[in-house]
Symmetry: C2
Subunit: 252 residues, 2 copies
Amino acid sequence: MSEPSCRLYYWPSIPGRGEFVRLAFEDAGTPYVDVARLTKQEGGGVAAMTALLEGKGPPHSLLPFAPPILVWQDLVLAQTAHILQWLGPRIGLAPDDERGRLDAHQLQLTIADLVGEAHDVHHPVAVSLYYKEQKPEALRRAGHFTRERIPKFLGYLERVLERNAKRGAPYAVGDRASYVDLSLFQLLAGLRFAFPQAMARLAPTIPRLAALAEEVAARPRLRAYLASSRRLAFNKDGIFRYYPELDSDEDR
Amino acid sequence: MSEPSCRLYYWPSIPGRGEFVRLAFEDAGTPYVDVARLTKQEGGGVAAMTALLEGKGPPHSLLPFAPPILVWQDLVLAQTAHILQWLGPRIGLAPDDERGRLDAHQLQLTIADLVGEAHDVHHPVAVSLYYKEQKPEALRRAGHFTRERIPKFLGYLERVLERNAKRGAPYAVGDRASYVDLSLFQLLAGLRFAFPQAMARLAPTIPRLAALAEEVAARPRLRAYLASSRRLAFNKDGIFRYYPELDSDEDR
């Protein structure tokens, strides 16, 4: 990537959707500015992100709807999968061929769908309400999510790995790691944090995903990143939240 | 587009997400095969779609997760926005420049998010349950959706049109109609069908979106399509459903 560095705008206190982008930068060893985590004095903070959402970004750029937002020169990109589709080839984390890139983006969009559904488990009524204000609905949704949706999505992703393994590669697409593999690692990490019992039950059915996640976590730059203070822990404000009562397969 | 025609696989009885793809083909006047709407004897039906989802598509193609699915030669594309990103430039319904194409895809992904939220209004607990089995949750979600989410998304899209209008174009991106404009038409049509009162209240705030939707519906090929039997009506099985009790701004 040529200078200046990409600027990433995302909530500074949660891994959330921004983490899928951070992982790509960190694994590639590509410098980036995590703007909202800088101080106000450094030109950062949430206010810098809000300004972008209010249309104070580069002139003639598309107004973004929500973070994460990536700014490079006068280009403004939003939507996680869209950002990664643009970024991946520029930092060596996408397949070289057109077909592979199409497949990678399609998988990333399906990962995004599962991430959205995971969020809505604790927010099935409205994002404007607290979890505790929609807990009965969340309890009901959680059972279906852990019994039906996680197995459906992860079963699909396991099959994708199985099909690619027949071509000799333990990755989602092509014969080397791409941003999709990093995202699969993060997806598994999030689901395991939020739904440890459900994921333990499911473990025997997703050996390839589990092995891939381990391999990704062991990549030298990522291992260093994951041990650093730059890596934000999952918590009770993000997409993946651990509420023991939601990690149940009870039918409510 | 070179022969053979693209094959679209989508549920034969609802407009749903497939309609965003159909509109692009119809507006461009590009022949396509709407596979699941053919009879079994013609090689169609839902079974043909199920076969794809079971991995019986072209060898070495990516396994799709869900419809709509577009097949062209041995390429298999799923995810509505992904399909349109690939298809748009090939049928003259995308901006010519790279930047415009990025903007178009980003907008389409945001439209897809709103479409997903509109679906979840009647299915806030689980897709595996009927609406009547999750009606209390749906009633609660609907109020937030019509009061908060529709205005937020459509307000954003109106601003996008406003910003592009300053460059002299009444379209979402660039200086001519793209697949995004067709999708905005369909989005408005769906929301008006499902939430007529909420949309009537909101009408004064979205003049540009309303004008664009009218212009799109008047495009000669689309006008003919919309009057044809190929156009599926909204109904009670699709994404946009009219349940009067959900078209309310009551706080439950």
